[in-house]
Symmetry: C2
Subunit: 69 residues, 2 copies
Amino acid sequence: MNKEIVLKNKIKEIRSSKNISQESLAKLVATTRQTIIAIEKGQFNPSAKLALLICIALDCKFEEIFWLE
Amino acid sequence: MNKEIVLKNKIKEIRSSKNISQESLAKLVATTRQTIIAIEKGQFNPSAKLALLICIALDCKFEEIFWLE
DNA sequence: TATGATTGTAAAGTAAACTTTACATTTTAT
DNA sequence: ATAAAATGTAAAGTTTACTTTACAATCATA
């Protein structure tokens, strides 16, 4: 896949603004804290399913959280 | 990850309605036709990056194409 | 009928997402 | 200051997305 285009996100900002910890977000979307950390840091590119679960947990539309650069 | 929840999509319907072939969609998003086929059939769960590229190529918002069931 | 374009299927290999565990560091509240 | 909560980092293992190649089947058009 195109390596020049990178998926960015503002999960950390939105999560913090709602006072949700990494651990509770992880539980909300049935994954682990490690996965949340890695996604927040851009260390990896989540699956669309997990990304959508995160959007729902954070009560945002997909494009409000994720974008391409 | 939660195996009871499944990511669904209507890529095939939207793609067809715009007269875009699997191959040209694949080229638009810099992937292969095999990947498009597998995603359309629900055989796998695309990355959020690829999913967003597809949304842009099809000129739709994420939630217009992808949802959870 | 024939030819090209589109789609379906399959299989092997690679890359990366995700899990699990463990421990260290920082922040917050008492 | 101290304890608890939250966050950072790391590493090994498993699962799955994604690539590449190849060939068959369907459909539209000349």
